[in-house]
Each structure stands twice: as C-alpha cells, then as structure tokens.
C-alpha cells in the first residue's frame, strides 16, 4: 500500500465508499491497514474480544472481485465490527461471558448475514458488558474497555468495545445493542453517534437475548450519514424474529439532506433536573440552540411518569433476563462444571461458575420479582407503569417531532467508580431507558466537551421516526464539528 493511504482510519464509511468507488484503494488495502492499526492500538483499549483477520481479508478480496465484476453491494468492501452479542458462524461468540467462552456459533445472526450479503468486511467482535448487563463495560469476563478520550475512564456500556473502537478510529462503524441505553450511552461517552431503532425495526434473530421486549440492534458510527447507510442495510422484516415488523424500510440516506425548518423539538423539564451535571446541561442547551438556528422550534413537553422509568426497567429487564438466561444449563452449549454429583449440582455449579456477579444479581432480581407472592407487586405493577410511560410519550409526540435532551447525566466516569454500587450504575441510563420501555427510536450525537470528555445530545422520536432522528442529526453535523474531534492519542 502506498504512503498516500495512511489516513484511511480517519475516514468515515461514506468517505471510504467513495474511495473504493474511485479505485483510490482496494478493500484488501483498507482491511490490511485497519487490521494493522488494531494490532498496534487495541492493547491500550481492550475493545476486541476476537479479531477475525483471516476472514476479513478473505471477505475483502471477495468484495474487490465483486466490485471489479460490477456487482458491488451497499457496503461492498467496507469494514465493520460486530458486538460479540451477535452470533457469527464459525467464530467464537461470547457475549462477554465466561459462560460462552467456548461457544463457536453454528449460525449467523440476521444482522450479520444482511451486512455480509451487502459486502461488509467484519474486522472482529467487540468487547461488551457480560450479556449486555452493565453501563461501564466493567462486567465483561474479558476485562474492561478503556475510553480513548481518557484511558482511566469507562467508554460506557454495554456496547463499550464498539464505542471505544469507533472513537479510536479502529473502524468507521460497529454494531451494538440497546436494552436500556447500551448503544446511546457509550456513544455519548466516547463522542460517537449511536442509534437504537424502533423495537422490531431490526431483527433480533441471532442476537443473544437479554430482555426480549426491550432489546434492539443498532449501530455506532462517527457520522449520522454512516448510521443512515448502515441502518438501511440492517433494518427490515425477518420471519425468523416473531416480533419483527413487516413494514417497508425508508430510504434513510436519501432523506437526511432535507432541512429541519419547522421541526418541533420537545424539551422535558425533568431531564434538566438536579441529577444532570450542570456543564453537560449547558452543552445540550447549546446544541438545542443550534437546532433552533436551523429553523427548529423548541417546545416544553411533560413526561409525568418518566421518573419511574429506571425502577420500572429494573423489574422488567431482570424478569425477562432470568427467563432468557435459563437456557444456559451446562448441557447443550456453554460452560459446564466438572464432576457434577447430580443434575441439580450440574445446573447450579455450571451457572454459578459461568456467570459473573452482575448477571447473577439480575437473574436473582428477576427470579424474585416473578416468584410466587411477588408477581403482582413487582412485575405486573411495572408493566402497568410501563404503559403509563409509553402513553406519556404518545401524548408528547402529538405535539413534537423529536424530544431532545442529555444522553447521560455525566461525561465518562472513571473505571472502578461506580462498579460497587448497582443503583448508582443503573441511574446512568435515566435518560435513555424511557425509549426502550416505549419501544421508541433514540439516537445520541456528540455535542461538545466537559473537561476534555465528550457530551452526547439525545434525540428520541415517535415509533418508526428514524428518518427524523437521522435527518436532524445530519443537519446538526453539517453545521457543527464535534463529530470530527479525535482523541489526541489516536490520531
């Protein structure tokens, strides 16, 4: 590869696509360059659980051939990382857990398959909180990921490997999953773009389940334009996911250039209460002022039950998790305890050894709220409050097109600071959880810095309003440069 191509890691996916189209470089050259960068830089971050170099180079060679034959897909030859929650055939898929440290997936998730069909090149599998349960990436069996903006800080979680890798320019994009904020919070904490689509918009098939009524796949990128490009490939009906929505996928890329004049932006008073770091609040207000300068109108909206979203989530999500994770029994796949005395001993020890502290805690919380005598007081009650929260959003979206606010109450926090106190950790997702409970699309985009750490602007839309979120974000990025900032040590 010639010296003129030493900047490939700095380019967005859209810029890389243009370079490939012009024949400026090949996908093999691009892949080699990023694999070399990963080999050189990831020891500082721990963003990868598995690097799939050989498979990536083979996919890149195939993509170059397809391009030469005039048969290039929408992502032909473009690099991506998959969060290690997505099953990838023939590749270790761990979900950040000792439980699956020996699991070689026998099939591809639909998201993986769709991207491969479009010609994407998978560089590897990214680190994450164990079974996506965490907001700091510290619950991973494979060790915490470090934030490229400050290596002492967390990159957020659970999609922390994805956010750190994209922020550090190890890849232009990575997939993520979001059950309570696991795409948006890490995006905010690393100065990247993260979108969680409407529940049912992207197939969950082959995405290891945490809380099935909340889980949704999305992407982390550096630009809204790249997010639009990828979502266009990922989204769509899948008969293998019983909650997938059969609805046409709009041309996300085609609509992002439309102006946002007249867009009604809702501001929720509770989102700017005492829980928010005042400087983060300033950055978010400045970002909303930018949207207003582009012709949007800010309107105050009320979500009267939003304060109950975190406790609601911490009943619903653990309940679903306790049910989903019952499949890990030490028999069919996953970790199995040695020398079990009987079947009960095999189950209890395989699970006791295979799961980490936070996962055990959530399984037990879920087991408790679903157990005889407590179901009505906790689970049923939480599902009722969930309805109230969803109705609040519905009412709000009668008056506004998007709701804007902070993604996270603070910028990135130091590794170790919150890991011993589950409630403090859970409150990290206070602004993001509502969208999951109501099944709404949400997005975080970088909007400035506090003490040299990035701050995220959070946008939530009505069901299937991904176009609005992407357009609003793209227009904001056409008039600001926050998304172009790169951590000093990773230029």
């Amino acid at each position: 590869m010639s010296a003129k191509h030493t900047d490939l890691h700095t380019r967005s996916m859209t810029e890389l696509a243009a370079g490939l189209d012009k024949g400026e470089f090949t996908s093999v050259e691009l892949t080699e360059s990023l694999l070399a960068r990963i080999a050189e830089q990831d020891a500082r971050l721990n963003a990868f659980i598995t690097v799939t170099g050989e498979q990536a180079l083979a996919a890149a060679a195939k993509a170059d051939k397809a391009r030469a034959a005039g048969d290039a897909g929408a992502l032909n030859g473009l690099p991506i990382i998959h969060k290690d929650i997505f099953c990838t055939r023939g590749v270790k898929t761990t979900c950040g857990s000792k439980m699956l440290d020996n699991f070689i997936s026998p099939y591809d998730a639909t998201v993986v398959e769709k991207m491969a069909d479009a010609g994407a090149v998978v560089l590897g599998k990214s680190n994450m909180d164990e079974f996506a349960m965490g907001s700091s990436n510290e619950t991973s069996f494979f060790g915490p990921v470090r934030n490229p903006w400050n290596l002492e800080c967390s990159p957020g979680g659970s999609s922390g490997g994805s956010s750190a890798a994209v922020a550090a320019r190890l890849a232009p994009a990575a997939t993520g999953t979001d059950t309570g904020g696991s795409i948006r919070q890490p995006a905010a904490l690393t100065g990247t773009v993260g979108i969680k689509p409407t529940y049912g918009r992207v197939s969950r098939y082959g995405m290891i389940a945490f809380a099935s009524s909340l889980d949704q796949a999305g992407v982390i990128t550096r630009t809204a334009e790249d997010a639009a490009r990828l979502l266009g490939v990922m989204a769509g009906f899948d008969k293998r996911d019983s909650t997938s929505i059969d609805r046409p996928v709009p041309d996300y890329l085609g609509s992002i250039n439309q102006p946002i004049k007249g867009l009604r932006v809702g501001i929720v008073r509770q989102h700017f209460d005492a829980g928010l770091d005042p400087q983060c609040g300033e950055r978010v207000k400045e970002a909303i002022a930018v949207l207003e300068s582009l012709g949007a109108t800010a309107v105050e909206v009320d979500l009267p039950n939003i304060d109950l979203s975190v406790p609601t989530y911490y009943v619903v999500a653990p309940a679903e998790c306790s049910s989903n994770l019952s499949r890990f029994d030490g028999v069919r796949f996953g970790h199995r305890a040695e020398n079990a005395e009987d079947l009960m001993d095999l189950y209890c020890r395989s699970r006791g050894e295979g799961f980490g502290d936070e996962v055990k805690r959530r399984i037990m919380t879920g087991t408790y709220v679903l157990s005889a005598g407590y179901y009505d007081a906790y689970y049923l009650k939480a599902q009722q409050v969930r309805h109230l929260i969803a109705d609040d959003f519905k009412k709000a979206f009668a008056d506004v097109d998007v709701i804007a606010g902070p993604t996270s109450p603070t910028p990135a926090f130091r590794l170790g600071d919150k890991v011993d106190d589950p409630i403090t950790m859970y409150l990290n997702d206070i602004y993001t959880i509502g969208a999951n409970l109501a099944g709404l699309p949400g997005m975080s985009i970088p909007c400035g810095f506090v003490d040299d750490l990035p701050v995220g602007l959070h946008l939530v839309g009505a069901h299937f309003a991904e176009e609005t979120l992407l357009r609003c974000s793209h227009q904001y990025q056409q008039h600001t440069d926050w998304h172009k900032a790169c951590p000093e040590d990773f230029k």
């Binding site: 069919r332 009987d342 037990m364 408790y368 009650k381 939480a382 969803a390």
Partner: protein, 95 residues
C-alpha cells in the same frame, strides 16, 4: 424492604445458581437495595391501567405449520461438553 439470607438462598435455588458464602453476604445487601429502589413503583397510581406486555400494538404472527429446518444435530452438538451417539449426557437422574 430487606431480604433475609434464607430468602436469597431460596431465590438462588430457584434460579439454579450456586453462590459462595461471600456471594450470599454480598447478594443480601445488594438485592435488598435493588428491591428498595424498585419499591418506588408502589407509589404510582395504576388503577385500571392495562399491563404492557409488548412495546408495539401488534398480535403474535403465525406461520404455516410446515417443516423449515433441516436436521443439523451433529453440527449443533459440537458445542456440547458431553455427547454420545447424538445424545446429550447429564449425570444419572434415575436410580
């Protein structure tokens, strides 16, 4: 509300999790704080509110009852720790 160690032991048994003595002590403390935290929900007025089981108003889709999967038992069993002649092995359950 504080959970007792016996309650936590019962929950762990229901969840099929073996915990060490240290883990029990830690779980009693942390699960109690989580239960206290979610107890806020009891303040909400939910009279006549229908529980929300699904984020979108949709019905469960049905598919025709036809075979769509082929037999890949041997391939799938490559991930199992103990298999013989196509069967998963577990400790003896019948004396």
């Amino acid at each position: 509300m504080s959970l007792s160690k016996d309650q936590v032991k019962h929950i762990a048994m229901l969840a099929r999790l073996e915990l060490s003595e240290d883990e029990y002590a830690e779980s009693v403390k942390k699960l109690s704080s989580i239960v206290d935290f979610v107890d806020q929900l009891s303040q909400a007025d939910t009279r006549d509110v229908v529980p929300m089981a699904h984020p979108l108003d949709t019905a469960q889709r049905l598919r025709p009852d036809v075979v769509i999967e082929t037999d890949q038992r041997d391939y799938f069993q490559q991930n199992a720790a103990a298999v013989t002649e196509g069967l998963y092995l577990v400790p003896k359950v019948i004396e």
